[in-house]
Each structure stands twice: as C-alpha cells, then as structure tokens.
C-alpha cells in the first residue's frame, strides 16, 4: 500500500508541475544557447517526470532521438529487489515518463529490461518499474538467461575484448540509458557507464579482469544515444543495494546528455566527488570515449521551484 501511495503521489505531483508553463519557472538561470543545442541538461527541484520533460526539451526534444516507427530500448537500473524509496533502482516515474515520450514520438516498440542482481521477476515487480512500463505502453523483457545474449567482439578494448550482450541492444534502433544516481561499494559511484553492465551476461568477467577498465571498454562497442541519470532519490552510502531508507536523500535532480562520460561527470559532482576520483570515468575520458571536463560543454541548468 505504502509503495503504491508513494508512486501515485509521485505521478500526481509530476502531472501537476508539468501543467505549469515552462517559461513561468526559474528556467535556465544561466541562459546560454538556444533550447535544443545543449550538450548536457541538469534539472533540480522537480518531480521525476517534470524534470525529465525539462531536460529533454533542453536537449532538443525526444523527437531528436526517437523517430517514428523506431524500436527503442530503455535500460533502467532494476538490479535489486527493493522498493522505489530505497533508490536502489531507477525511479519508476522517470522510466514511465521516458517510455511515454518515446511512444508519443511514434516509437513502434519500447523495450525495458535489466540483467538483475537479485531474482529478476521480483526486481521487476518490487521496483515498481514493471507496472509503470506496462501502463505507459512499453514492453518488459526478461534478461535472466543466457539465451537472450549474443556474443560480440569489441575491437580496441583493453580487457573486455568479447562480451555477451542482450539481443535487444543489437536489435533496437535507439538506446536510452536510464541509471539511478547512487553510491557503489566497488566503483565508488554507480551511474550511466556502470549501468551498462546490466546489458551484459557475464558480470563476473568484469570483476575478475579490472572492473573499471571493462566498464570503460564496453563503450567501444556501444554508446547509448541518450543517458538520463535519475537523481530524484539518491543513495548516499551502502550502495549499490542499500540497507534501508536511511541511506537515501531526496536530491530531486536529473541529468541528461548524449555524452555518457559527461553525464557521469556531472552526476559525480552532485554526489560530492570529483570525476577524476572515479576509475572508470577517468579511463573512459582518457580513451576519448567522452568528455569529463564539464567547462568545455554547454550545459542547461534549470531549477523547478
């Protein structure tokens, strides 16, 4: 009951804040390039859906990424059998809004899956994501057995030269990566790049072959078309699973960028660390897979009050 109320409240507030005209708020206090030309959008202070709406508009609208008839893969973090308020998984409302927008942009199918850490069906259900995706017209796809994964070679990779990747990553036209902003005991922080471990079958290989290098290597195979980091609730410690709601703060933030390294760098700063402290961000930056120097990017900063 509690969880459902939580979600319902979230939806309600989300719809309400979305109803206000955009220019009425504290839109883009720094006000630089025209809407749609930003490299990165950061939004604070709103409900999940409203923050995504703001961010995607600054990034040129969903239609810049999703064309009519295309198949879209939305990849949230659904790794844990935990309710939304624990922030171990991506906020279901953020996922719902993204799926809705993709459908509105004319996507023929919107698929959602994760190769979960806990038992997959419990994660799908208890994260609240399954229900929201179905409501929004998306399709939940399992990723629990090896039969869903196809082996690919990754030229230029230092350690991850081969990987078994979920077939939806290979078959979809558009790839939207939707991680949650959280602490992580191994990599310090889990963001967009780390979230891509959930499209690969064998995670043990990562752990036994220099985790940070493998995370960066994967980008040589595939970079998502869009990364949306959900920081509505942020797990500050005991990540990536978390122990209780005491690990969570209501940050009310969302970051979007097509540059996965930049998105991770911005979220790291919001977490209170520097991108250079995070092994895989530094490696990916050095491998020129993205830019972690945020001063070199155009950023839309918006605050919803």
């Amino acid at each position: 009951m509690k969880r459902r109320d939580f979600i319902r409240k979230g939806v309600g507030v989300g719809l309400l804040s979305g109803a206000f005209p955009l220019f009425g708020g504290l839109d883009d206090v720094y006000g630089r390039p025209a809407t749609g030309d930003y490299d990165l959008a950061a939004v604070r202070g709103g409900e999940p859906a409203a923050m995504f709406d703001r961010a995607i508009e600054a990034m040129g609208g969903i239609s810049k990424y999703v064309k009519r008839g295309q198949k879209v893969l939305v990849k949230p973090n659904i790794g844990w059998d935990a309710p939304p308020e624990r922030a171990a998984n991506t906020n279901p409302d953020t996922v719902r809004r993204i799926v809705e927008q993709c459908k509105e942009a004319g996507a023929s199918e919107v698929y959602v899956f994760d190769n979960t850490c806990n038992k997959w069906d419990r994660c799908y259900k208890n994260s609240g994501i399954e229900e929201m995706v179905k409501k929004a017209g998306g399709k939940m796809v399992p990723g629990n057995t090896e039969s869903f994964y196809k082996e690919v070679t990754i030229p230029g990779a230092v350690n991850l030269k081969k990987a078994k990747v979920h077939k939806l990553v290979l078959e979809s036209d558009v790839f939207i990566n939707v991680p949650v902003l959280k602490h992580h005991s191994s990599t310090r922080i889990s963001l967009a790049m780390k979230n891509l471990m959930g499209v690969v079958w064998d995670r043990k290989f990562y752990h036994s072959n220099n985790l940070n290098q493998c995370i960066a290597d994967f980008l040589l195979f595939k970079k998502p078309d869009l990364n949306v980091i959900d920081g509505y609730n942020m797990m500050t410690k005991n990540g990536p699973r978390g122990v209780s709601v005491a690990d969570v703060v209501n940050l009310k933030a969302l970051i979007a960028s097509s540059d996965i390294v930049a998105a991770d760098a911005a979220a790291t700063k919001m977490f209170g660390m520097q991108p250079s402290e995070i092994g895989h961000i530094q490696i990916a930056h050095d491998m020129k897979l993205g830019n972690m120097n945020l001063d070199e990017l155009t950023i839309s900063r918006q605050k919803i009050s």
Binding site: H207, S208, V249, A265, F271
Partner: protein, 522 residues
C-alpha cells in the same frame, strides 16, 4: 450401493489429489500461494506426523484425519491421497490396457515378515531421529523427489524451448527458467528408484505398497479393524475370479472367500467388476467370511527388536566429512566446518532429524539456492536441502521455504525474524581476493550484501578491499555466490552455523555522504 460410481469417484478424487500435488512441485512460475500449498500437503501422512511431533497444531493434524478415515473405511489414503500410490496406479493402468491376459493379477501371498520389519525399522528410525530411513521409504517424499529432480527439469526444458520460440514473435508471457540439475548421485538414485517403482507397479500393481511402504503397512494394520470393509457374500459368489484379475494388491482369495484387508488399498476395482454382487462394502455380517488376523504382529514385534538393535549399533557412521586445508597456486581452499541449513531449520541437528527430503522447498526456492545434499550434512542429512551458494544465494526478502515445509523441519518464521537469522558467518580470505591478487577493484561481495556486513575499506593506493562484520552477517551467501574466484578458492564464503544464531540488525546511521549544497556544482 452403486459400486461403479464409487470406483469412479475414487478415481476422480485420486486424480485431483495427484494433479494438485504434482502442480505444487512443478510450479515454475511461482503461482501457488503458500496456504494453498499447505492445504495440498496437509493430508500427507508422514510429513504431517513428523510436523505433529514438532508442533501439535491444527495445521499438522492431517495424519489424524487419515487415521480416522482408515478406521472408518480402510486404506483410502493409499488409493486416493498418496501421490506415489496414484502414480503406480497409472503405470498399472497402462500395463493392464496393454495386456491381453484375461486375468491380469493373480492372488499372491503377503510378505508379512518383510513389511513389518520395514515398518519396525521406520518407527525406530523416527524414534531415534535417524531420518535417512524415513527419507528413503516415505511414499510422499519419494514422489516429491520424482517431481522435483526428474519431471521438473523436463518441464523447465520444455518451457525454455517454448519461450525461445515465442521470443521470435516478441511474446514474453513465457520466460526461460534457470535449470539446475540435482547432484548426479541424487539424480541417479532418484532415477533408479523411479525405474524400480515403475517396473514393479507395471508388473505387480501395488506390490511396493504392500511390502516396502511403511505407511501402507501401518494403515494396513488399522484397516484390519476398520468399520467398513469389503466382504464376500458366500451365497452369491460364483468363484469366477474376475475380482482377482483386477485386484492391484493381489489380496483376494476366492477359494476361501477371504480378503486380506491389510493389503487392500480400497481401489474398489473388485466391487465394480463383480457381476453377482457377491462383494460388498459394509460391516461384517454372518454371510461374509472374514480374514483372521495372522501371526504377523508377533513376527513384527520380534523384528522391531532385532532391527532396532542393528540400527542402534550402526548409528556411528554419521560424522561430517571435512575437507583438508591445501593450497594450490597460493590460493587457500575454503574450509567449511558445517554446511548451511535453510532458514527456519533452527539448527543442523534438529533439521537433519526431521526433514524427509521431499524437495518441496527446493522447488519453491526462487533463487534455487536450496539443493539436495549429498555428503554436506553427512549420512544423516542425505538428500535434505542445504544452501548451495554455488547455484544461488538466499533472497533477503524471501522466506518461501519456511512457509511451505510439510514436515516442520523448517518452521515458519516472520520476514523480520528471517532477516536477522544467522545461518552462518561470512569468512573473508584475503589471499584469494582479486583486489589482493590482481590489484584491481572488485567488490562483488559487498555489492550484493543486504546488510553491508561485507563492507569495502581503503586498501593500497586507491583500491578498496572487503571487510566482514560477522555480527550483522546473516550467512545468506550473497557474497559467496557472485565472488569471481572459482570454488573451492572463493575469496569469501559462508561457514555454516551448527545452530542458527541471531544477528544484530544493521545500524541505521544518519546519512554521511551528504550531497553538495550547490544546486549545480559544475
């Protein structure tokens, strides 16, 4: 009385029972709620009896109902409730359909000595808590193992094949299920039991129920004095022998117009086939000829003593098998003092004494961490489930196994209790850890730990290395399972607790890693 209808009713009820029991073992999509599973296993004799010995409650009184029914009408349990019995009827039915013999069964002498010896052995093994005998002989548990270790894998394979086909049309209503086979020894043993039982029932109907099965023998004793019995009317009988030809228990003696009620399983085949109405179900009247009690009980008493003594002297073989500490390539072999018993077991000794290894919890476990033991517990725990952290780990928010155990070997516990029940303690072996051996980040153990008993602390340079706080560890194996080092050199493993302990609750500290004050720190 319309005996054809009676027989048909018996067949229908027995099929309903066997299908229901079958379904809870084959429920690969976890659709049955726990109370339904409990209701279906409620009347299973041995589990219910064992449960009653533990906790005398209404929920464990199913066997009393069975006893009452037996007093009233004889071995109805054997013909309509016992899944192994009904399974044998299926084989017998096929055999009879395929046979051209006019009289399929013949009258056979009872194996009195053998059956009462086995009953005595079983009773003694219950009294002395040597449950492996019960495990091997209990009909429900044997049927359970056929379902769990033989039929379920076939179903999963079929499901996975179908799911794969449906995937092509992007239909995901069916999804593949992880298939974990039982250890080969268990698999081979269960397979050979299955083949033997199938063969015996194909050839000789309910022979097994009347020679080996201790429940059959016990209920047979009671049915000798049951209120209603099948009787001959000597005036009507033409000694045509049709009843003998359909009697799966081979217990009708037409020459003397006697029925061995201790072997009769109340299938009612004879009643429905007798055209002269010479056979009837009722109280004994003067026209009927009853079977006198044989001297079997005396024999059995003697045998109880003999087998008892033999059993007690043979009880010294129950020591745990321990592995030696050896090193290969500088890695240290994991040394587990005890296997890990499932939640609700209270302790290994207690658990080993009660569990009959029916496999219901193995099928109910969503993460498939529960697997049948071969030598993990020693002989005493053969085929009983243990926490196999190679195949999975215990889901923090699940207590499924404790809620459905029909024997009370796993007692029901609340989720709050379960989350602080320490099944074992995590042991960190630094020398085996990737962080130590390779000098790279790993932390898979700490990621999965639900209580953060495994925490990452600063190590050389920028690296972090695991540290275990055993006080808050519950031994769920979420650290051991994902550890990328191969068995038996895991860098972190769970050493079982002989008796489950209470773990401390993880501290809920105030948030330390506060986010930056600025709205946009970039």
């Amino acid at each position: 009385m319309n005996y054809k209808l009676l027989k048909r009713t018996r067949v229908i009820i027995s099929l309903l029972f066997v299908i229901a029991t079958f379904s809870i073992f084959l429920d690969i999509y976890e659709t049955f709620p726990n109370p339904v599973i409990n209701a279906i296993t409620w009347l299973q004799f041995t589990p219910s009896l064992l449960d009653f010995i533990q906790v005398a409650t209404l929920a464990s009184s199913g066997f009393i109902i069975v006893l009452i029914i037996t007093f009233l009408m004889g071995r109805i349990y054997c013909s309509t409730i016992c899944p192994l019995g009904i399974m044998q009827d299926v084989f017998a039915y096929i055999a009879k359909r395929r046979s051209k013999k006019k009289f399929f069964y013949k009258k056979k002498k009872p194996q009195t000595l053998l059956r009462f010896s086995i009953l005595a052995l079983t009773i003694i093994s219950i009294l002395t808590s040597f449950s492996v005998i019960v495990t091997l002989l209990d009909p429900y548990s044997n049927a359970g193992r056929f379902f769990t270790y033989l039929i379920r894998p076939v179903l999963i394979l079929g499901n996975n094949a179908l799911a794969l086909v449906l995937q092509h049309w992007e239909i995901y209503t069916l999804h593949p299920v992880k298939l974990i086979m039982a250890p080969w020894f268990v698999f081979m043993l269960v397979t050979s039991f299955f083949l033997i039982i199938a063969y015996l029932s194909y050839k000789r109907g309910r022979l097994l129920c009347n020679t080996i099965c201790p429940v059959g023998t016990l209920l047979g004793l009671l049915s000798k004095i049951s209120w209603l019995k099948i009787n001959f009317d000597s005036d009507k009988c033409t000694k045509c022998g049709h009843c003998i030809g359909v009697c799966k228990s081979e217990c009708i003696d037409v020459k003397q117009l006697k029925i061995d009620h201790s072997r009769c399983v109340d299938c009612f085949n004879c009643l429905s086939i007798c055209q002269e109405s010479a056979l009837s179900l009722g109280r004994i009247n003067k026209n009927s000829v009853t079977n006198k009690a044989s001297s079997a009980t005396d024999h059995s008493r003697r045998n109880i003593l003999a087998t008892g003594i033999a059993l007690i002297t043979s009880q010294t073989v129950l020591a745990d098998i321990k592995k030696k500490n050896t090193t290969t390539d500088d890695l240290i072999v994991n040394k587990k003092d005890f296997a890990v018993a499932p939640p609700g077991a209270i302790g290994i000794k207690r658990f080993n004494e009660i569990c009959t290894g029916c496999g219901l919890c193995v099928t109910a476990c969503p993460t498939q961490v529960l697997q049948p033991a071969v030598s993990e517990y020693g002989l005493k725990g053969f085929m009983q489930p243990h926490m196999d952290y190679g195949s999975g780990y215990c889901n923090f928010d699940c207590r499924g196994c404790t809620a459905i155990c029909p024997t009370g070997a796993l007692l029901p516990i609340s989720i709050e209790e379960k989350q602080i029940t320490q099944l074992g303690k995590a042991v960190f072996v630094k020398e085996n850890c990737i962080v130590y051996t390779d000098g790279t980040d790993c932390g898979a153990c700490s990621e999965h730990c639900p209580t953060k008993a495994v925490n990452m602390i600063p190590y050389e340079g920028n690296l972090l290395i695991p540290e275990v706080n055993q006080d808050i560890c519950i031994g769920c194996g979420a650290c051991e399972h994902p550890c990328p080092v191969n068995e038996p050199y895991k860098a972190i493993y769970v050493n079982g607790n002989a008796i489950h302990q209470a773990a401390q609750k993880p501290k809920e500290e105030e948030s330390i890693g506060k986010p930056v004050e600025e709205d946009f720190p970039f």
